[in-house]
Symmetry: D3
Subunit: 256 residues, 6 copies
C-alpha cells in the first residue's frame, strides 16, 4: 500500500475528500470509488476519536490513506490519532510559528520532537517486524513518513507563512479558502485579486521550501483548475455534500 | 408534517431511498435534498434498532417519513420500531398469508391485531394530547396510519399475491426486483417477458384491492419509468450507492 | 445482597419500577432511592441488550435486583440476559401454556429445561467458587433462584391462567393492567367489575399454586392499594415518567 | 421556535435545568414538561460530545433551547458544540479577563472573534436558506444570538467581575453557588452576609452592563426566591436529582 | 487470504479460539498471535451484531478467518453476519433435522436455500469485480465457501446426527463438550466411556459424509489430544479466559 | 474495599497492569485474577472517557483500584475521571514544576487546588452519607486519598525531579522506562549504567520525600526484580500484551 507521503514525493498529485459523516462505511465507499486519501474532519463534526479510529482501520483495510483534521492543537489530538494509524494530521486555525513547533513536538519522535513512544496498533503492538532494525530506525522512518500539515486560513498565518513552513517537521500547508477569505473580509470571493495573490504567495513560498500545498475545492471543476495552478493535492468536497448534491439532482430529475 | 400514508391516499407518488449507512446525518441529508421518505435497511446492514431509532428521530426533526425494513418477522422488530415512530414497516422474504397475518397481529392494535400498548415517544409518553379523544380513538387512528408492507420477492409470494394482499391490515406491496428475478432463475434480467408479467400481475392485483405498490429502482431513469408504469412509489437507490457513484464520477472526471 | 426471589419467599413485598431511559445512571439513582428492584423494559424502548447489561452491572454494584422485560420469547432474549446477571425475566404478551413451556426450556438448566451452559460473568467466568460444589449443584441452585414471570395481559392468558402458572419453572405472574383492559375492550377502566374480577382471579389462582403476583401501578397511591389487595409486589411507574411528572410539578410551581 | 437569547431580551425569565444523565430521552422529557432550556453538563459527567449532540438534536425537535456546560475552555469544546446547534455555552471555573477573551475568540465569528466557519448541521449544511443574505449577514446574526456565559465561582472572577463581563461578546454570567461558597471558605452557607453581598455585586455589575445573570437553584422554592431577587434566569436542579428525589418520596410513601 | 473452507479442504487442521470480550483489538491480537480463525461468541456474551461486525472487519484486515456463533436460529442472525463477511456460522443447541434445513434456507442462496441477495460490504457493494462472471456464478461460489456448522450438544442432535449432517448445505459439526456432557447427565466428565463413545460416533458419522468436525478444548494439552484423535479443527479456549489465566500465573509468580 | 493509597501507606507494594483493550470485561478479568489495581491507558489507546468510566465502575464492583493515565494535562482529563471514581491519575510527559502545580490545581479541592465541586457518582450524588461530617471534611479526606502521579520520562523531569516531587499534592512518581531511555538516547537499553543511575536517583529523591515510586515492567521476572530494588509498586505489562503473548505460546505449542 502506497503512503500519501510517497505519492507526494513521486509527484503524483493525490486527490482526496473530507469525511463529515463519521461513518466507516462512507470511508469504505470513498476508497472503493478510487480516491487516494480522505481527511476525517474532527474540526466541525459532532464526532471524535472513536469514529476517526474506525475510519483509519477501514482505510488500512481498503488501501486508502487516512488523514485527520483535528479541532485544535493538543498532545492528545495528535498523538492518539497517529497511534491508531493516521498517516497525517491537518491542523486548522494556526497563527504562529510557536504553534507549528508545538505540533512537531507532539507529532515527531526525538530528536525532532518528543512524541510519546508505545508499541500500538500502528506497529502491530511490537509483535511484528516493525522493530527489526531497532527502535531508532523505527522512529526515524516514522518521523519521515508522518505528515504534519497546518492550514493557512488566518491573516497571521498568511503573513508569517515563510517562517511557519520552514519549521523542521512541518510537511506542507493546506489552504482553507473559506476561512481565509472570511479573515480577509472577502468571504467566498475567490476571484478577488488579493485572494489570488494570497494563494499564489503560499504556493511560491512552500515550493521554494520543497513542501507540498493542498487546497480544498468544492467540486470537480475547481479541483481540476487547482491542479492546473500547481497545487500538489486537492481535497474535493466532503462525503455528506457529495451525497446531498447527488440526491438533489435525483429529486430534480424525477420531479421534472 | 405529511405522513406517507396521506401522500399515498392523495395520489402523490412519493419517492424515497434506502439508508444503508446507518447514519442519522445521512438521513438528514436525504431530507434536505427533498426526498419524501427513506427506508432504513435493517435487512442487509450491519446495524440495528439503535441506528434506526436515531434516523427516525432525525426524520421527525426534518419532516421526512421514516420507514424501516426489518430483517425478519418478529414481534420485537415490528413493535419496537413503531414505538419509536416509524410510519411503516417493510418486510422482506415473505412467503405465505400466515406470515402476513402475523405481521398484522404484531403491528396493529386490537381489534385488527394485538400490538402491545404503551405510551412511548411516538405519543409524547402520554403527556401530550395524543389521548385527548380516548385510547380507543388513538389506537384506531394509529391502525389507520401505520403502513405494513411485505415485499414480493419469492415465488411463493408471487403465486399467492392476491391472497396475501387481501389480509386486512396489510397496506400495500413492495417489489424487490433483484431477489424476485433471482428466485425466478433470471437474475437481474428485468426485460424478460416473464419478469414483466410478474410485476404487472402484482400491480393489477394490488390496485384491484386499492392497495399501493412500491418498487425499487437503481437510478433516476428507471425510477421515472416505473412511475410511468403506474407504480405508486419508487424507492431510488440507497445512500451509500448514491454517494459511491457520485465519487466515481468525480474521480473519473479529475483523472481524465 | 438479597435476591428478589429471597425477598418474595420471605413475604417482603418488594417494590420496583420500570427503566425506560436505558441509562445506567438512572438505574443507579433508583437504587440510591431505595427501590428493591427494577425492570429494564426492552419491550417498548428504543434500546436493547447493551443497555440492559449496563443496568444489570450497576444493579450488582449498588445492591438492587435487576429484572428484564424482554420484547418477545426467544432463546437469545432469555439466555443472554440471564448470562449477564438478570435475576429474572418478565415476558409480555403470553397466550399459551406452550409458550410458558418454551420460556422454561430456554431459562432453566436441565432437567427443568435446556438452558445453554457457559461460565460467564454471572459466575465470575468459573474462576470464583461458584462451582465449589460441582456443576450440578450450581445449575440446581440457579434454577431455584431464576425468576421467569409471564405477563397476564391477553384474553387467552387470562382464560388459561391456571394451566399456565402451573408449568414447573414458571415463578409467578405479572399483570399488565393497560394491555389487559385493552384486550377486554375496556381500556384503562380499572374500576369496571369485570376488570376487578379478572385480577382477583389471577391473584387467587396463583396464590393457590404458591406463586407470587406482580402488578404495575402508575403512582404511589395505586401502589399502596395494590399491596393492600394482596399483591406480592408492585412495580411503580417508570424512570422517565417519574422524572417528567416531577418536572411538570416544578414548572407549574415556579410559573404559578 | 424561540431562542433563549430572544426570551432574555424579552425579559421572559426563562427557567431550565441541568442534564447529568446524558440521555436524549431525558432531554425530551424535560422539554415535554415545559422547561425553556436545559444545560447539558459536560463538566462533571461521564459523557461528552456525542451525548451532547444527541441532546441538542432532541432539543431542536421538541422546541427547547439547548445549552452546554463545557469542562474547560478550548477551541474544540466551544466550536464543536456550537456547530451542532447549541444556543450557548456555559464555562466553569473562569478566573481572568484573558480567559473571557479567549472564549469570544473561539465562539464568535470575525470581527468579534475568529470562530472557524463551516456550513454544518446548524445551517442545514448550507443547502437551506441560511446564507440567503450572504455569509457576512449569517455570521453577524449568529454572533448576535450565540450566548457565551462564564460562571462566576472563583474568588478571582468575583473580584474582577466588572472587567470580565465587559468583554464584548460575553453574553452574561452564571453564578455557581456551591463552588463560589467553597472558594469563599463557607461551603453551602448561602445565608452568610458575605455570600449575599457577593451575588448582589454580580447582579448589580451585570445589570449595569445590560447582561443577564443566571443562577443555579437546588429546588423550586429557592428558584422562586432567586427570581424575586432579580435573577434573569434560574437553572433548577438536574435531571438525575429530580428523578432521585421523586423516587425517594415514592419509597417513603409506600413504606410508611 | 486463505478461507477456512480452503484450509479444511486442504486437510490443514486449522486452530482457532472464541472471542468473548467483544473487542476488535482482542480480535487483532488473536490474529497477530497466529491463530487461523476465531469464533465471535454471540451465544453467551453481552454484545451482538455491532461488535461482531467490528471483529469481522478486523479479521479481513489481518488475514484471519472470522466465524460467528449465533445465539439462536433466525434469518437475521444468519443473513446479517454473512452479509458483513463472516466465513461461517456456528449454531448452538440444535435438536432436529428441520432446524438444520432452516439454517440452510437462511444461509445459502438458491437453489440450496433462499438467502436474501444484496450487494453488501462482502462484495464491495457490487462495485468491485465480484459479479464479473455473473450473479449466478457469484451465488454458486458463495454457497460453496460459506460454512454452516451446527453444534452437537443435545441428546436429540446426538441421536439423529447422521440425519442432520446429511442435510445438503450443512458444512460440518462442532462438538460442545460441556453442554453435551450436561445433557448426558455427566457434566464435564469427559473421560466417561459413554462420553468418549458419543464423540467417536460424531467423528465417524461426519467423516463418512466427508464433513469436518470441530471441537472445543479448554487448553493446549487437550487441543493437541483432540487433533491426534482425528478432529479436523480445535477451538482452543477463549480470549478472556486466556487472558485471565495468564494474569493468574503472573500474580502467583510475583506474590510467591 | 482497600484504596491503593491505603495499600501504599501500609507498605503493601501493590501490583497492577495497564488496560489497553478499553474493555470493562478485561478490567473484570484483571480483578478476578487478583491484581491490586489497573491503569486505564488513555495516552496511547484509541478510546477515552466513556471506556474509562466503564472500567472504573467495574473496578468498584469487583474491588480493585482504578487509576487512569490521561493523554495530557487538562482540567477535564483530571476532573472528569476523578468525578466518576478513579482513585488516581497518572500523567505522562511531564517536564516542569509548573505542570505539576497545574495538576494539583485541577485535581485537589481548595485549599490545595481549585478542583470543581459537584456531588457526582463518586459520592452517591450526595444522597448517601458522604457529607455526614460536612463538605469541608469530605474535600479534606478526598484530597488525602486522591493520587496524582506524574511520569518521569523526559530529561527535563529527570533533571528537576526533586523540585517536582516536592509539590504539595503530588503523591508520587511513575517511571516510564521506555520513553525515558529514548529521551536519553539509549532506547530500551535498561542495563546501561546511566539508565540505572537515573532510576536510582528518582527512587532516592522520592523516598527522601516519603513519596512512593511506581515503575512499569514488561514481564513478571522484571517485576520481581523491581520490587527487590525498592520500588513501591510495579505495573506489569498490559491486558492486550498478556493476552497476545499467551496466545503465541498456545499456537507455538500446538503447532510444534
Ligand atoms: Mg477552517
Ligand atoms: Mg430482498
Ligand atoms: Mg403490555
Ligand atoms: Mg462549579
Ligand atoms: Mg453450548
Ligand atoms: Mg510514555
Amino acid at each position: 500500500m502506497k503512503l500519501i507521503s510517497d505519492r507526494l514525493k513521486n509527484g503524483e498529485k493525490p486527490i482526496g475528500t473530507f469525511l463529515n459523516l463519521g461513518s466507516q462505511t462512507a470511508a469504505e465507499c470513498v476508497a472503493i470509488a478510487g480516491m487516494d486519501y480522505f481527511i476525517v474532519d474532527l474540526e466541525h463534526s459532532p464526532f471524535g476519536l472513536a469514529e476517526a479510529a474506525d475510519c483509519i482501520r477501514m482505510a488500512k483495510l481498503k488501501g486508502i490513506s487516512p488523514l485527520i483534521r483535528i479541532p485544535e492543537i493538543s498532545r492528545a489530538n495528535i498523538l492518539k490519532h497517529l497511534d491508531v494509524g493516521a498517516e497525517g494530521i491537518i491542523i486548522p486555525g494556526l497563527k504562529t510559528r510557536e504553534e507549528a513547533e508545538k505540533i512537531v513536538e507532539y507529532g515527531k519522535y526525538t530528536p525532532l520532537g518528543s512524541r510519546g513512544f508505545c508499541p500500538t496498533r500502528v506497529c502491530e503492538f511490537g509483535y511484528g517486524d516493525a522493530f527489526a532494525n531497532g527502535i531508532l530506525e523505527y522512529t526515524r522512518k516514522t518521523n519521515e513518513e508522518t505528515m504534519l500539515i497546518p492550514q493557512c486560513e488566518t491573516l497571521e498565518c498568511l503573513a508569517d507563512i515563510e517562517n511557519i513552513v520552514s519549521v523542521e517537521g512541518i510537511s506542507g500547508i493546506f489552504i482553507g479558502p473559506f476561512d481565509l477569505s472570511l479573515a480577509m473580509g472577502i468571504p467566498a470571493q475567490f476571484d478577488r485579486p488579493e485572494f489570488k495573490e494570497a494563494i499564489t504567495k503560499v504556493l511560491t513560498v512552500c515550493h521554494e521550501k520543497n513542501k507540498p500545498v493542498f487546497i480544498f475545492a468544492p467540486n470537480k471543476e475547481t479541483a481540476r483548475l487547482r491542479l492546473e495552478q500547481g497545487f500538489d493535492s486537492v481535497t474535493v468536497n466532503g462525503d455528506l455534500n457529495v451525497m446531498t448534491e447527488a440526491y438533489m439532482e435525483i429529486v430534480k430529475s424525477i420531479r421534472a
